[in-house]
């Protein structure tokens, strides 16, 4: 009766309390409250919130459509005739000054860079994925997996800067030292960018491979182990084939991601659309699609042919990455399969056809025939022919006589056959087990080497950033951003840029995170997964993440900067980054909501709560720490985005105040932009500009990775336990 002692004074003022001593009292009390007018209100609230959430989800998922439509509208002037489109797609003369817009070589350049990046990344990614899923002990996996994932949190502009400054130099000097000047005269070629991009793609392929292998039912692997296969055999012959489609889809998804990557190619490679050294030569200078968009958008007249051509490029890039990602996803879900191709390469496929089996035989018969053939081929009879034939004949003869023998004779025969069989099998065992061990060990060593190389590269990147960045951590003038005249005097400060970054990303978060949370709630709770409408919404939101960042930037630049007339400003940048934030935050919200068991909500419903109440009081409340982790994760992903910022907010500003003056029409200096600008200056013009860039990189890295790590800590500390 005296449970809330602290608040007794409060409750005294409230309405009188009904004493509940017997069942009848209670019955009367509840019957009074069951007809209360609040029921109607709760019902209305429930319905209203459902529609509100639906509107948010629709808004979020329509973003892809908006962007595509806008790009099409702006690109229309150069798409008036079939000839123009043909020129844009298949001509290789890109010369905007003379109004020649042949973009074939630009697309080809992108494909070259991406192709080699993936070729390099695949062995690393798959090797590390296999290592994480199958061979690493649980404890070290807990350290290795986040470490690998940190790579994807490094902003691409920092990678671009390091590759531009160090990797290009190393590649040039090795080629000179090896006497390959003809092949490689400068370090700023496609392969340099490919190596950098490969490093950035490894975590994606690795974690997707890990997921795919972990999803293989453990029974399959156990069955293989029980037959006496080694661990590696079980992985390579059972788990990997089972997870094959998911791994292929991971590679294709990575391809779709890399093709839209802008900053690395823009900074590392010197632009040259000619492609003189042949179509698939990575040792040449190129001019990739995203670089063209980001590089040329600054100095064009609004509404002229080049403007439209750039939007056409954006559209092309968008479609290419959308198509690639869609293919990748459908492979993962099994809608597209390559089985018919692999079947073609097998002899049985053709021999069976020649034998003209009737159609009614069906797959089962074909399958059993193939199975029989493969088995008869694989049993190694030939090597141990003598022993084998001997035992066989003997046992056959003996078994034939078996039923006529006396009991003693029977026992003798049985024992004899047993020993012979044992000898026969032990030969295999000895041979194969050593072989198996050697192969398993070699593969393990290779995988550990791959992992070591990646982690070593990560450490080098961190080391370089810290070593170069620390020098200017306490600059002479803390406040000022990069203004050219100011910089010539040898001054620079990162504080203003850091504040600018935080403000712009904060604006994006303020708008984007609520929208994506509501959309996530709607998608997870209010729509059946089999519903067609649901698929449209889900795919709509997923597709935003496949749009290359430079295309989002182009959209933001066209809509917010020019049509809305906000100019390069905080609002324009915030809205643009918001678009990039929505898909990430939505999917992290859904993942967080999934962690709460459904039984919680069912129990609340059985107590008579409305759907919204059950979600709000239970699922949202218990998953809140995970949702916040998702927020921090998505902010850390967006904070290093450079291409959209270059187009919509960033500017080199020289102004005395630390905080920007207004939300619109004033550019803000931001860290990624500073890194880009300062990194590309030569030291002769602006002394120490590179080390300033590195200081900015250090601060940005600390922000991005700090948010990522804080999120992980938050989640592990405040996670709710349900049992």
């Amino acid at each position: 009766m005296h449970i809330f002692r602290k608040s007794d004074s409060k409750t005294n003022k409230e309405s009188e309390v009904v004493n509940l001593d017997s069942s009848d009292d209670f019955k009367e009390f509840t019957s009074k409250h069951s007809d209360s007018s609040s029921l109607e209100l709760r019902r209305k609230m429930n319905r209203g919130i459902k529609y509100f959430l639906m509107i948010m989800a629709i808004f979020a998922s329509l973003m892809t459509l908006f962007i595509t439509l806008y790009l099409i509208i702006e690109a229309l002037p150069v798409m008036t005739s079939f000839r123009q489109i043909r020129e844009l797609l298949f001509d290789n003369n890109w010369n905007p000054k003379e109004e020649h817009f042949g973009a074939f070589n630009l697309l080809l350049s992108s494909l070259i860079v991406t192709f080699y990046a993936i070729i390099i990344a695949v062995p690393f990614g798959i090797g590390i994925g296999i290592l994480m899923a199958e061979f690493l002990p649980q404890k070290s996996k807990k350290i290795v997996k986040p470490t690998i994932e940190i790579i994807s949190a490094i902003p691409s502009v920092i990678m671009g800067l390091i590759a531009f400054r160090y990797l290009a130099m190393i590649i040039q000097q090795t080629s000179f030292a090896l006497g390959l000047q003809e092949l490689l005269s400068s370090g700023r070629v496609a392969i340099t960018a490919s190596i950098t991009l490969a490093f950035m793609t490894v975590p994606m392929i690795a974690s997707l491979t890990d997921d795919a292998l972990s999803a293989v039912p453990s029974n399959l692997k156990k069955a293989s182990l029980a037959l006496g296969s080694s661990n590696w055999e079980a992985v390579s012959k059972v788990s990997l084939p089972h997870a094959r489609s998911s791994i292929i889809s991971a590679i294709i998804l990575a391809f779709g991601r890399v093709i839209g990557e802008t900053m690395v190619v823009l900074m590392v490679v010197s632009n040259n659309p000619a492609l003189n050294k042949g179509w698939f030569n990575p040792f040449q200078e190129i001019y990739a699609l995203p670089s063209a968009i980001a590089g040329e958008v600054g100095d064009i007249v609004i509404g002229d042919a080049q403007w439209s051509a750039l939007f056409f490029l954006g559209l092309e890039l968008l479609f290419v990455s959308l198509i690639i990602t869609t293919i990748g996803r459908n492979i993962a879900t099994g809608k597209i399969s390559f089985k018919f191709i692999t079947r073609m390469f097998k002899k049985e496929y053709w021999t069976l056809k020649e034998n003209k089996h009737s159609k009614n035989d069906g797959y089962f018969k074909l399958f059993t025939m193939r199975l029989r053939k493969t088995f008869t081929r694989k049993v190694p009879l030939k090597e141990n022919k003598d022993l084998n034939m001997d035992t066989r004949n003997k046992s056959k003869v003996k078994i034939g006589r078996f039923f006529d023998d006396t009991i003693q004779e029977k026992e003798e025969t049985i024992n004899q056959t047993k020993t012979e069989l044992r000898d026969y099998y032990s030969m295999f065992r000895k041979n194969s087990s050593t072989k198996k061990k050697i192969t398993e060990r070699t593969f393990k060593i290779i995988f550990y080497l791959l992992l070591g190389m990646i982690i070593g590269a990560l450490l080098i990147v961190f080391g370089v950033v810290v070593y170069d960045g620390v020098q200017n951590l306490w600059p002479i003038d803390f406040i000022q951003g990069p203004s050219y005249s100011y910089m010539q005097a040898g001054h620079y400060g990162y504080l203003k840029s850091a504040i600018g970054t935080i403000i712009v990303v904060g604006t994006a978060a303020l708008i984007g995170l609520p929208i994506s949370t509501f959309a996530g709630i709607y998608l997870y709770f209010y729509i059946k997964p089999t519903n067609r409408f649901c698929n449209i919404l889900r795919n709509g939101i997923q597709n935003i993440s496949t749009i290359p960042s430079v295309v989002v930037g182009l959209f933001g630049w066209g809509i917010f900067v020019n049509i809305f007339g906000w100019g390069k400003s905080i609002l324009a940048g915030g809205f643009t980054l918001m678009i990039m934030m929505i898909p990430i935050a939505t999917s992290t919200t859904i993942e967080a909501l999934k962690q709460v068991p459904f039984s919680m909500r069912h129990n609340a419903l059985a107590l008579g709560s409305t759907k919204w109440e059950s979600i709000k009081d239970h699922n949202l409340r218990y998953s809140f720490p995970s949702i916040v982790t998702g927020y921090l994760f998505s902010i850390s992903r967006v904070i290093g985005e450079t291409a959209p910022i270059i187009l919509t907010v960033a500017a080199s500003v020289y102004s005395p105040s630390i905080f920007p003056d207004s939300l619109i029409n004033t550019g803000v200096s931001m860290l990624p932009f500073d890194i880009y600008i300062l990194g590309l200056f030569t030291d002769k013009l602006y002394p120490n500009s590179f080390s300033w860039a590195m200081t900015c990189a250090l601060i940005l890295l600390l922000l991005a990775i700090g948010l990522f790590i804080i999120g992980q800590i938050l989640r592990s500390k405040f996670q709710v336990k349900y049992e």
Partner: protein, 280 residues
Amino acid sequence: MSKEKKKMQISTKNRIKDNQNQKRDYKIPAEIAARVKNFNFYYGDLRAVKNVNLDIMKNKITALIGPSGCGKSTFLRSFNRMNDEIPGFKYEGEIIFDNRNIVSKTTDLIELRSKVGMVFQKPTPFPQSVRKNIAYGSKIRGIKNRKQLNQIVEFSLKRAGLWSEVNERLDDIATQLSGGQQQRLCIARTLSVWPEMILFDEPCASLDPISTNVIEDLLVDLAKDYTVIIATHSMHQAARISNKTAFMYMGELIEYNDTKKIFEKPDEQLTEDYITGRFG
């Protein structure tokens, strides 16, 4: 506009009709809590409950027994429409409760579920304090007075026989209680909104024998104030506590009678086979 208005009119007409139907046709005798008439339930194309007819008696314990997959849980969940959470559900026929057909589309689920409570197989306390767990049902109904809430908490816990064990741990997280205590907490939570009927979906399936015993005693006690339906795997449990027993097999109601009759001299051969352990 005119079309919309017409639609509105038609829909309101239908609703009125439905309401009239509910009031006019569905009167049942006072000693019967719920009457099931030609009831079918579908998951998509699968007919999980087939043409069931029976009367649930007021303030009695009715046990649903049968092998797993026989549809007894599905049938049980139909009484407070928890089946609506499953995609592709469809009801056919009537369940008359409180002078209404509760499986019609116009039923207000919030009201229904506060009248028909449910306790699930796995004890699911919310990961909050014991007090908040029990006050939740009243809070969402708009009772904010803390003293009143405390009274409700105390009463419900006493009624569920848990008060003496937890009265000093009311602010502990409920997931720290033992399994049997958790299940009684869930029962107390259901009691806190005073339902007329309580559904138990194998409440003892994940508990040890001693906790099972305690809960069985509690159920017998609860039947004085409430109508209790329990779906159970254990025939012994049904025999021990229930007044009426329904045997279901493959979605059909094979036999429904007094528990004594069912366990001593069932009418159907199938029931006898099941009870004597020849299958299931």
